[in-house]
């Protein structure tokens, strides 16, 4: 038609999206089957435009993350040091470090984990190993989805109503941890359920065939083969619990509480505590005259903790996938 020969390969090497077929075709154009029509060229142009626009959209979502992290680090640089981590805030939180908040967050995370991990893992075992395909299972799944979708501030109201007032725990680490535990339960249930379902049915059948009961099968075959997936879920729970603010604001976290520096057991179960996320909120909105670097430093420590914990989960998952034998 136009003299210039363009090629369209008849057989694309791999269907279903996981290749860069277009570039390969343009680069190697030696399988000439057809000459192109204007229609073909328009088609190809649309394809290139679509691809670039979509790439641009993806990058616009991804680049902010990197820029934001860099900017926060740059702003926080003046205060970041080990001292910042291990000293209490001083002078009305305008100087000093974040020790009390850091330790408080650890308490909240660990206690909420102790509650939600067993319940979540057992709930997932029920869903994956015991539940039949019936209305109860459907309702449970629906409840898990909805539990994950309840706004964090509504969890806070629940925590106030149920734990602080009804169970008379008062504003305490215990009440805040329990609120966090219920909020993060769906994370563990979803991840564990997925890990358990990934264990092939044949493994279980083999075990049943040698006379093992359901629980023996779960304990000796299903759990050992899915432990890394379960761990991933638990790690993700930690990251989620560490970052939440709204649920602990009214159930146990306070603006300021001095504790002895360097003592990892400085808080009691019924004490109120500081928390990193709450501390960031407080010093950036409620306290005037805080030097700029201090909130940035707090944000970096919080963000760093959460992202590192998530990376750990990702690395674990990749390692697990590379080792998978079936």
């Amino acid at each position: 038609m136009t003299g210039k020969q363009e090629t369209v390969s008849l057989f694309k090497p791999k269907l279903g999206g996981a290749d860069t077929g277009l570039q390969k075709e343009l680069a190697t154009g030696n399988e000439s089957f057809f000459t192109t029509t204007p229609f073909d060229r328009k088609k190809r142009l649309t394809e290139i435009v679509a691809k670039s626009v979509l790439l641009l959209m993806t990058l616009l979502m991804v680049i902010p993350l990197i820029l934001i992290v860099c900017y926060l680090l740059y702003k926080a640089f003046p205060v970041l040091s080990l001292d910042f981590l291990f000293t209490n805030p001083t002078r009305g939180m305008r100087a000093g470090g974040i020790w009390a908040a850091l330790l408080g967050t650890m308490y909240l995370v660990v206690i909420s984990l102790l509650v939600s991990a067993p319940i979540g893992v057992l709930a997932a075992i029920y869903l994956s190993e015991y539940a039949g395909d019936n209305w109860l299972t459907r309702i449970i799944n629906l409840a898990v989805v909805n539990l994950a979708g309840v706004p964090s501030i509504v969890h806070a109201l629940f925590g106030v109503g149920a734990f602080v007032l009804f169970a008379r725990m008062g504003r305490s680490i215990l009440a805040a941890s329990l609120t966090l535990a219920i909020m993060t339960l769906p994370v563990i249930i979803a991840a564990t359920n997925e890990a358990l379902r990934a264990v092939p049915m044949a493994f279980r059948e083999a075990c049943w065939n040698v006379g093992a009961t359901r629980w023996q099968t779960i304990r000796s075959i299903v759990l050992p083969n899915s432990i890394s997936g379960i761990l991933t879920g638990i790690i993700l729970q930690v990251s989620r619990a560490a970052g939440e603010t709204a649920p602990i604001m009214f159930t146990g976290a306070v603006f300021y509480k001095a504790i002895s520096e360097g003592d990892p057991f400085a808080y009691g179960l019924f004490d109120q505590c500081m928390a990193l996320s709450m501390h960031l909120f407080t010093i950036s909105t409620q306290v005037p005259g805080v030097p700029e670097a201090v909130p940035y430093g707090t944000a970096v420590v919080l963000l760093g903790t959460v992202l590192l914990v998530n990376m750990l989960a990702i690395v674990l998952r990749m390692y697990l996938r590379s080792r998978k034998k079936w």
């Binding site: 999206g17 277009l22 626009v53 979708g149 964090s152 629940f158 359901r214 960031l280």
Partner: protein
């Protein structure tokens, strides 16, 4: 050996009951949440709250000495404005990114993008709020010569960045769920990659993509700390993107600490909580039914 065996057979039924109990725990907790939040607000709801005024009046003066008024229309407008703006930004970008990651990426690149999107989803909301309060605030003041940068625009962009990861990951799942035979059939007819996406994949995955958008909406409505910090504190119906607003969630977070326990004001905040719970419950339920719809087909 025999003792151990016996112990195991005896303890197994107990264990199974514990597992069953944990299995239904999610149901218990969802009902528990509704019950306890409702319980704290029920007294005032049945005793004195004028529901018509509650939903139609934009006047929110819970601490006024002479005449307390509890109208949440302005708060609903606040929530709606930031949510709509967030979705206007997040839906095209989120679905675009989902399509790109699912259909145009090589395996390595795909893995990289998915990791970054997962990390984006993990950023705590208070950090997003802090970003809105500092970086975005300055940018908006500089760009628009606005007196204050804590506006609908600020909150909307922050919420968009927060809901995009959900839309991308669920949208990508929806696209992945379309059988490869559809793609093969379309390509065999000579369709280009884009034609396959536009004419085959999008119609086939539309329910899953709709569910992705709905879950993004639910996230945006329920988000608390980010909007509390990024949208300013003006209880009013916004007229432009550069107006400050306050959302339902932010109101609870800002006022619960100051309202005396069991006062009318305190109970109204719990009623707002019930309202929020109901909205997100409805949205999540719809999303779930939409997804179920595909599976049954």
């Amino acid at each position: 050996m025999i003792n151990r065996h016996r112990l195991e057979t005896l303890s197994e039924p107990v264990l199974e009951w514990v597992i069953r109990l944990c299995g239904i725990s999610a149901i218990i907790f969802v009902f528990g949440i509704f019950f306890f939040v409702f319980r704290e607000g029920a007294d005032f709801l049945f005793r004195g709250l004028d529901l018509v005024e509650f939903f139609t009046s934009p006047e929110w003066y819970p601490t006024s000495v002479s005449h307390k008024r509890y109208g949440v229309l302005a708060l609903i407008a606040g929530t709606a404005s930031v949510t709509v703006l967030a979705m206007v930004i997040a839906v095209p970008f989120g679905l675009g990114a989902a399509i790109f990651v699912s259909e145009f990426c090589g395996p390595k690149l795909k893995e990289t993008f998915k990791i970054i999107i997962e990390l984006l989803a993990a950023i705590p909301s208070v950090v997003w709020g802090f970003i809105g309060l500092t970086i975005m605030n300055e940018m908006i003041i500089d760009l628009f010569n606005a007196p204050i940068g804590l506006t609908v625009l600020n909150g909307g962009i922050i919420l968009a960045l927060m809901s995009v990861p959900i839309i991308v990951s669920i949208g990508e799942d929806a696209l992945k769920a379309v059988p490869d035979s559809y793609r093969e059939a379309a390509e065999a007819l000579g369709a280009s990659r884009w034609q396959v996406i536009y004419r085959v994949l999008l119609p086939a995955a539309k329910n899953g993509l709709l569910a992705a958008v709905l879950l993004g909406v639910a996230r945006a409505i329920g988000e608390t700390m980010a909007v509390l910090m990024a949208t300013g504190h003006a209880v009013k119906i916004p007229h432009s993107l550069l107006d400050s607003v306050r959302t339902l969630t932010a109101t609870i977070a800002a006022e619960l600490g100051e309202a005396p326990v069991h006062s009318d004001h305190y109970q109204v905040l719990f009623i707002i909580g019930v309202l929020l719970f109901s909205i997100t419950f409805a949205v999540n339920l719809t999303a779930d039914l939409v997804v179920k719809g595909i599976r049954q087909k």
